[in-house]
Symmetry: C2
Subunit: 233 residues, 2 copies
Amino acid sequence: MNKTSKMLPKPVIQRLPKYLTHVHELTSSGIPWVSSHQLADQLGFTSSTVRQDLSHLSLKGVSKRGYHTGQLVAVIRSELGADTRHRLVIVGAGYLGCAMALHGGLAAHGFETFGLFDNDPEIIGTKVGDFSIRPVDALKHVVKKEHVEIGLIAVPPPAAQEVADRLVEAGIKGILNLAYCHVHAPKDVVLIDARFLASLQELAYAIRCREEAKTAWAQQPEPFSQEKQQHES
Amino acid sequence: MNKTSKMLPKPVIQRLPKYLTHVHELTSSGIPWVSSHQLADQLGFTSSTVRQDLSHLSLKGVSKRGYHTGQLVAVIRSELGADTRHRLVIVGAGYLGCAMALHGGLAAHGFETFGLFDNDPEIIGTKVGDFSIRPVDALKHVVKKEHVEIGLIAVPPPAAQEVADRLVEAGIKGILNLAYCHVHAPKDVVLIDARFLASLQELAYAIRCREEAKTAWAQQPEPFSQEKQQHES
DNA sequence: TAGATTGTTAATCGATTAACAATC
DNA sequence: TAGATTGTTAATCGATTAACAATC
């Protein structure tokens, strides 16, 4: 349906990149149609979820065939804004910030870097690929002049909040926080956390729970195991 | 309550690192008690959510005082397994993989790297910090020998699925996928996506929606704006 | 004591899944 | 035509928020 300026539910937005990359592969393989059941199997969703998700987009599936892969790629790209260019700055020129600056995928997906900033006098002026590292004091000037929308926080946690404040003050519209800490921004600035350390902790936690469940399962002599197996199958 | 091997709801697990880093700061500032309302204000949750979340942990709040910050840090660390060491390998020695290998935060939080792998003959053998880059063929041997639990996928999307298969075959227990694509793993292997490009797209999407909403709001002469403002305040 | 704060139950909200008529 | 598949409504599930008795 895709009514203008109606924000899609967050879980849907988070699934769109998965559909996009996967269906793009299908088109590359010359597969012209894909059904909700196939997508569900391939991506680990249910077919209901797939149909609900895609019903938000401006395309129609076809009975007995499914969705046209080429069209699907096009409308998801359009919905995600994958065809428009976004302007960003990176604050923090440590390993992570530099990796972001040099990572080809950013530019390839329309995210153009307009500056790499740091506060360490030792490295200011140093070249990182095409960028020369600039002082954080220059942030505001660059953001204004280049109409930068997005700021990446790639500094150590103790400095993250101050960097966020500087970005907000510079007039940034959205922040991606890569630092392992909570940062606060006023509610007219969008803030999304992408903290791989938190993801790693979540992963380690999930692994531990699996192990414990397995152990418990092995130790406990389940009286009704037959029934349970039926339920699981 | 913290009943053994009972997995906490995912949203709770994802909030725990936020509580942890924030309350850790409070302890460092010598603040001994914090209430659910204070935590809610500081982290952007509701006090109900805070109390619900913390009720899963093995600690008791105190009427009129709240939660003891030191104890809170301890039980969250324990629940997250932040005090145990985790063994990982990194596959892909591009900018991102190398940044992960060199990032001090990993080791500081108990994630120990046991190898950095790549398939490019040009860079195999090269030193990256203390690691020398090894061929992906050596993956299985290292994972078995060092009892590695976690694998990081830091290769370009076209190679990601094959790397995932190799990690699974090597007997890894969990995978953190940093590549911008969907990868599949058998259900006894935990897989978590940490794709900053997807996060950036989500951010850009949210920014666009805000803009559009603002424009719509400015253009449409809302007849009931008075009432609406009351609701918002 | 009075008032603030917890822990927990109940109500609300939103997302996922199931079901099925409409369609090709 | 018969059967597979969509789009959508209804049912289920789970998470968040509200409310309030118990507590210090």
